[in-house]
């Protein structure tokens, strides 16, 4: 794991190393200015690749989509700095738990070549659906505008966003949170059958649990175990607190 960084003013934290999700949202509540995020440096990658050299036939290095972050570029530059190691850098065109699912697919492969081939086959099958409590955070990071989301500044609308094929898109906008939750479940069900799925949340464990209880049984019947994931510092910088959603691979 090569962590991205989150910056509160001059202070820099490695996501999941120096700051977990709860600590991050505590800090966010008290911050006078919104944090920003940054990709790891090529040096960060080179250091990790150096450590892995000699451990196997090569490295498959899977990262946040190039349209969303500079991470994959840093990884490519870092890989060139390491001599005598095959590093296969993959632009996942997605983010968060779907990358974990791709890692799982890679880990279950018999060879580097098979891992690369199986992971690449699943890249177009990744989806994320996110219900945000406000568009404020993702808008600050420049990932989507209010005009693109067709969400004005006046009404307190709940945006439902999706990530597919590397791009963030507005899927829907709903007047209240209680109506938005059934809506994201409906959007998920439209994409059945699934191969892997995780319910993600930022400081909304009870709602995530209720969603899990609703979709868990039907997915289990279909042979899919539902994971849960907490939204960490870097993703949380863009979603803000109380985000809820799904990261999944369609079958």
């Amino acid at each position: 794991m090569v962590p991205l960084k989150v910056l509160f003013g001059q202070e820099s934290f490695r996501d999941g190393v120096d700051l977990d999700g709860d600590q991050f949202f505590d800090r966010l509540r008290q911050a006078s200015k919104l944090p920003t995020t940054s990709a790891p440096s090529p040096g960060d990658f080179a250091a990790v690749y150096e450590r892995l050299a000699g451990d196997g036939e090569g490295v498959i290095s899977i990262h946040i989509g190039g349209q969303l972050s500079g991470t994959v570029e840093a990884a490519r530059v870092g890989a060139q700095a390491v001599e005598g190691l095959r590093v296969h850098v993959i632009d996942s065109r997605s983010t968060t738990m779907t990358i974990a699912f791709l890692c799982l697919v890679a880990a279950q492969s018999a060879s580097l070549a098979e891992a690369v081939q199986r992971v690449e086959a699943r890249i177009p099958k990744q989806r994320i659906i996110a219900l945000l409590d406000t568009l404020r955070y993702i808008e600050m990071g420049g990932r989507i505008s209010r005009a693109q989301a067709m969400i004005g500044t006046m009404l307190d609308l709940k945006p439902v966003l999706g990530v597919a094929d590397g791009e963030i898109k507005a899927l829907d906008r709903v007047r209240t949170r209680s109506r938005a939750i059934p809506r994201i479940i409906e959007l998920l069900r439209d994409d059945y059958p699934l191969e892997h799925v995780a319910v993600m949340h930022a400081q909304a464990p009870e709602e995530a649990q209720r969603i899990l209880e609703e979709i868990g049984p039907e997915l289990k019947r279909d042979g899919v175990e539902v994971a849960t994931g907490q939204i960490g510092a870097v993703l949380g910088t863009h979603t803000g607190p109380r985000a809820l959603g799904f990261a999944y691979l369609t079958r």
């Binding site: 209010r146 005009a147 067709m150 969400i151 004005g152 500044t153 006046m154 009404l155 307190d156 609308l157 507005a170 829907d172 906008r173 709903v174 007047r175 209240t176 209680s178 109506r179």
Partner: protein, 537 residues
């Protein structure tokens, strides 16, 4: 034919306010007279500019002009009356008594066909009665065109008198039908012009003198619009009722609300200095604003053109190639619609109904092949229904009757789905919202079995008078109680231009207290006439 139309325009202009006053609900949207007049004016304007001299062509030009200028439901029905008349006289160079009578009959038929569920006791009934009386008169041995028009006009008058016996709401309100009366006035004006063509200004010289007549006629409504004058009176122990009655003598569309320390005044008047002088005798004037309403009218037309001055051209092409156009008024509501992605806003609504032509211009100005149109007012729905036939774009109408319905519809819009699927989604979303519109009664009346006094706070729930009282907070909470608050979770209050901070605070406090489970959001709507529009969903 030209003289007859000018005669009806003149006479309707003179009686516009009388028609406006015949409003079934005591809400400040009585503008049937204005809507019919503007529609008729649009019909006559095109004739004035045309050299056509045969009856068939004149009638066709009038029909087209009235359709483009149609405003409000009465205006749209009037345009259909013209259409029927024009169809009946197609190809004719002159009309005898029988042709005139047949054209009146066909005019009424066309009007009936235009309405999905024709209601008796309205302009439709009056048009039919006029046609039948005309046919009977034409069958008389010595019938003339004049005798036929006279019979039509009298038939209309008798039918108007009977409208309260046909419609409960008219009976309750103690009025005759406004649209029907407007048609009666037009027929009377027509009769005057054929009975005494010389009496009407310099009309005696026939066609040559007509431009002068037309000019005189067309200037009338502009005077009638006058100046929209608004200000606050600050003082001590101000008598709101006395101020209201004194201001009312100097203009119309009068709205005077407030407290002993601060009174807000809104009036349409021809003489702003006199109003200001009078108001100055009560206290100190603040936030004085005088607007020329004929300029406002022109601005409405300009704003309807998305590429005209004022609004920037739409830049983004949506994936589904579907644009959104909506009718809205009130700065806050306009901003909300724009923020939600509406590409063209046509100014208007409760009291200033945009014409079919305004809507067509807005729709055709958008860089999309299909457009979803939201009228957001029940008085705009009929004009909006005509837009698809006249516009170059394919138009999908989502028949929203209120601003909250329009907002719910826009929120349901999905830029990845085709227009027809969106229209369905939006229609469904609009129907899930309940609307409470709150204003003050403009006169005493009975409606929906309820007695209302002039100046009372009244709440219309989904266009029906629901609750009346003296206090905004109580009336809104009562109306919400009647809706059954258990079924809903969110109340959005759109605050109008006339709502004061204290009234807003009292209203939210009352809603929080009586309905603790409901979420309450207050938004600046900025709409006139309605201090509060409340969306319940």
């Amino acid at each position: 034919m030209k003289l007859a139309l000018l005669g009806s325009l003149n006479w309707l202009a003179a009686n516009q306010e009388e028609v406006n006053r015949l409003n079934v609900f005591p809400v400040p949207d009585g503008d049937t007279g204005t809507n019919m007049l503007l529609t008729l004016q649009s019909a006559v304007e095109d004739i004035k500019d045309s050299s056509a001299s045969d009856v068939g062509r004149i009638a066709r030009i009038a029909a087209h002009g009235s359709l483009m200028g149609a405003r409000g439901n009465s205006g749209v029905i009037l345009s259909q009356i013209f259409r029927g008349f024009a169809k009946a006289v197609e190809g004719k160079t002159e009309l005898g008594p029988a042709e005139v009578a047949a054209a009146f009959e066909e005019a009424a038929n066309a009007a009936y066909r235009a309405v999905l569920k024709p209601t008796e006791g309205t302009i439709l009934t009056v048009a039919r009665a006029a046609g039948r009386a005309a046919t009977a008169a034409a069958a008389e041995p010595r019938a003339t065109v004049t005798s036929v028009i006279k019979a039509a006009s009298e038939g209309a008058r008798r039918a108007v008198e009977k409208t309260p016996s046909q419609l409960q709401i008219l009976r309750d309100a103690g009025v005759v039908d406004a649209g029907g009366f407007g048609l009666q006035v037009m027929l009377e004006g027509m009769l005057k012009s054929v009975e005494e063509p010389d009496a009407a200004q310099q009309g005696g010289e026939g066609l040559r003198a007509q431009p002068a007549v037309a000019q005189a006629a067309l200037e009338l409504p502009e005077e009638g619009w006058g100046y929209c004058t608004e200000f606050l009176i600050a003082g001590e122990g101000l008598d709101v009722d006395r101020i209201r009655s004194e201001i009312a003598a100097l203009g119309d569309s009068v709205l005077v609300v407030g407290e002993p320390e601060l009174v807000k005044v809104h009036v349409h008047t021809d003489d702003p200095p006199r109003v200001i002088g009078l108001a100055g005798s009560f206290g100190r004037l603040e936030k004085l604003n005088v607007g020329d309403m004929s300029t406002q009218h022109r601005r409405i037309l300009e704003e309807a053109q998305p590429n005209g001055s004022g609004s920037p051209p739409a830049q983004r092409q949506r994936a589904n190639n579907v644009g959104l156009a909506a009718v809205a008024s009130g700065s806050g509501l306009v901003d909300i619609f724009k923020g939600l992605g509406v590409d063209a806003i046509v100014q208007g609504g409760q009291t200033m109904n945009p014409s079919t032509g305004d809507l067509v211009a807005a729709v055709d100005g958008l860089p999309y092949d299909e457009v979803i149109l939201l009228p957001n007012n029940k008085n705009v729905v009929l004009a909006a229904q005509e837009v698809d036939k006249l516009a170059q774009k394919k138009v999908h109408l989502v028949e929203t009757h209120t601003m909250p319905q329009g907002i719910a519809a826009v929120i349901a819009f999905n830029a990845d789905k085709p227009a027809a699927a969106n229209a369905q989604l939006m229609e469904r979303a609009a129907q899930q919202v309940q609307t409470i519109e709150v204003t003050r009664a403009v006169r005493d009346s009975r409606s929906n079995g309820r007695r209302v006094k002039k100046g009372d706070v009244i709440a219309m729930v989904n266009d029906r008078l629901d609750t009346a009282g003296s206090d905004y907070a109580v009336v809104v909470a009562d109306a919400l109680q009647n809706l059954g608050p258990d079924k809903y979770e969110l109340v959005t209050v759109y605050r109008g231009a006339e709502a004061g901070d204290a009234e807003v605070d009292a209203l939210s406090a009352s809603l929080h207290e009586r309905f603790p489970t409901l979420e309450v959001e207050v938004q600046a709507g900025g709409q006139d006439h309605y201090p509060f529009i409340v969306s319940v969903e």
